[in-house]
């Protein structure tokens, strides 16, 4: 076990935290010797919020497997090791006219993490999740053998691994497709919505927009419940850029990188400061021009501008609630979730609403309907609130995003998501249950 060293581990929410042995292999070939012990889990850049990437027995930090192996500049197909960061993909290929087809709200995720959580972006309603653009993956299974899996070859393994949260094996390499873009700019349209019904109407009206997302003021209640700013976006073609940008369409202003050097006092975020922030943000949104030209970094990754922003929630960390609701129950479900949150007064600064297209992979999170994500500081009151939100989501036929979860109960998960039982059965049959386990998979009986 000399390859392992004990370190304190946590997800992005820094809740829960717990020490455990970690190894950092330098080569794909070295991974085999590390999974022998059993109960291990792969870890990417630790951007999952909770305990998905904390091994039950040991953790394999794969960020050193970060080599780009080949690029087909006709098809836009990149073959790379799983530890390559999405941000590095953009840095390398945007200047050559390519951008990821699907990106989460941070560029600091690895390809392995993006595949294992089958992450979604602001374009799920049109383009699907990250896995749609994965042509194949090399996966190291319980027996240490590396298997190439795709839609045609080892298709069962492929289907379970997209969204499988590292519990089907270690993804070593992947082939992913990028989309051609003519510039690094996004034309953004902001649509203020006075309440939830207006926001949902705006989403449905924007069905053909490439990107759409809404920021919700989740402290607004009564007639203003669900008051939000719906933002759509389109990649800008070179000819549509202002003349001074046309010569270097991929060049965008370099941004100042801020960082959060210390933990904010726990009391810094309370109903008053959050309320004031949300009201301010809302009023600014109303005044802002409806149409704006925004660079890709500010548009897709506003939070990445502040490194370590997770410390704003203080030492105790924070938790995120994210569920997906089926279309026919979305309005009722969202209304109930937002009312419960507004009443509790545990407002979250980051409340995000998105429209989802249909589920594609076996165990991935998205389903046709809406998804709501809320952040809360981790404390007894918000944890109790989250239990109530779980029940509301489950009652409306919703399901939960494992990449955000840190505290769901196994009973709630299995009640809300019958796929979990099939996933578990598959793990038992393939021997993956013994080889691969995270703190989350043990808690949720996956």
């Amino acid at each position: 076990m000399q390859d392992f060293r004990t370190e304190e581990l946590a997800g992005w929410g820094r809740y829960p935290r717990c020490p455990g042995p970690v190894a950092r292999p330098r080569h794909a070939e070295a991974v085999g010797a590390l999974i022998g012990a059993g109960g291990v889990i792969a870890r990417g850049n630790g951007r999952a919020y909770g305990d998905s990437a904390m091994g039950a027995a040991a953790t394999l930090d794969l960020r050193r497997l970060n080599r780009m192996l080949s690029f087909d500049d006709q098809a836009g197909r990149l073959v790379a090791e799983a530890g390559v960061l999405l941000g590095d993909v953009i840095a390398t290929f945007l200047p050559r006219g390519w951008f990821p087809w699907v990106t989460p709200g941070t560029k600091f995720v690895t390809l392995g993490g993006a595949i294992a959580a089958d992450v979604h972006g602001k374009n799920h309603h049109r383009d699907g999740a990250f896995g749609t653009f994965v042509d194949w993956i090399d996966v190291m299974g319980a027996d240490g053998e590396v298997v190439r899996a795709s839609r045609d070859e080892n298709s069962e393994l492929f289907a379970w691994t997209l969204g499988g949260m590292g519990l089907t094996g270690v993804i070593l390499r992947a082939a992913i497709r990028l989309r051609p873009v003519e510039s690094g700019w996004i034309a953004q349209t902001t649509i203020p919505a006075q309440n939830l019904a207006e926001a949902m109407d705006a989403f449905e009206a924007a069905d053909d927009a490439s990107y759409s997302v809404a920021w919700i003021d989740c402290l607004a209640s009564g007639a203003a419940l669900g008051r939000s700013l719906v933002m759509t976006g389109e990649h800008v073609q070179a000819d549509d850029l202002p003349p001074d940008r046309r010569t270097h369409p991929y060049r965008t202003p370099r941004k100042r990188q801020l960082s959060m050097p210390f933990d904010a006092p726990t009391a810094a975020l309370n109903r008053f400061s959050v309320g004031a922030f949300n009201a301010l943000y809302w009023r600014r949104g109303l005044r802002a021009p409806r149409k704006a030209l925004v660079d890709w970094d500010s548009y897709f990754y506003p939070l990445d501008a502040i490194l370590g922003w997770n410390r704003i929630y203080g030492r105790r960390g924070f938790v995120q609630f994210q569920c997906a609701l089926p279309l026919n129950a979305s309005e009722a479900g969202l209304r109930a979730l937002l009312s419960e949150t507004a009443v509790a007064g545990q407002g979250s600064i980051l409340a995000v609403l998105k429209r989802f297209g249909p589920q594609q992979s076996r165990f991935s999170f998205p389903m046709a309907g809406y998804t709501l994500a809320l952040d809360f500081p981790a404390n007894a009151r918000t944890l109790a609130l989250l239990d109530r939100l779980d029940a509301i989501a489950a009652d409306h036929g919703g399901r939960f995003y494992l990449a955000k979860d840190a505290r769901l109960s196994a009973a709630t998960l299995h009640r809300a998501d019958p796929r979990a039982a099939a996933f578990r059965a598959m793990r038992r049959e393939t021997g993956c249950d013994r080889a691969f386990a995270s703190a989350q998979s043990e808690r949720l009986l996956l």
Partner: protein, 246 residues
Amino acid sequence: MTDTVLVLGGRSDIGRAVAHRFAAAGHPVALAARNAPDLEADRADIAIRHDVEATLHEFDALDTDALGDFVDAFDPVPGIVVSAIGAMGDQTTSETDPAAAAQVMRINYEAPAQVLELFAARMAARGGGTLVGISSVAGDRGRAVNYVYGSAKAGFTAYLSGLRNRLWGTGVHVVTVKPGFVETRMTEGMDLPGALTARPEAVAETIFQAVARGRSVVYVKPVWRAIMIIIGAIPEPIFRRTRIGS
């Protein structure tokens, strides 16, 4: 034209970081190592990320007789050659096993000195070039815990200093790099003091800047220069009794 950068010890964490840093500035890079084909993924990564030419070269620094052919195979001679070769060895083993000690001395001193000397001649003949030798602060003063390694690094540091002086006026410049602790395969599993420990990328940045500015001797974190001045000034009887000395 941007100079090609040859990295001797291309598998090392520092060597790869150096290759990436120069490639990012548009330099073609060549990685030399034992079992070079194993480095194909690293080669591809450098070529793809930085859109430069990257090549692999089989190289055993201890195969003295083959060094001449190895060097001659580069035609034209690379503009910049960086030696990241080295090995810590095991101090206790070195104390009892002269062959093991010889190996540590050879890989940290003899081999890099010999190969850089051969490149120096070709660079001088061409009228220009830069040689970079990665030595160590361990060569600034012998310590009980690693003096076999440290003494070899001291020899290498002195060699680089002499070489620099000999080449004065030929257009060939020699940079001596003295890292303190660096987080690499060499130090894996050791408890390194966080504030004094550099990442390989920081070493690479230091080297890149030193080459660009024609510096002669560089430490990696500025604090190390101060530390080594102080350590160098401690009288031997006292040094013996300190934690650093022993």
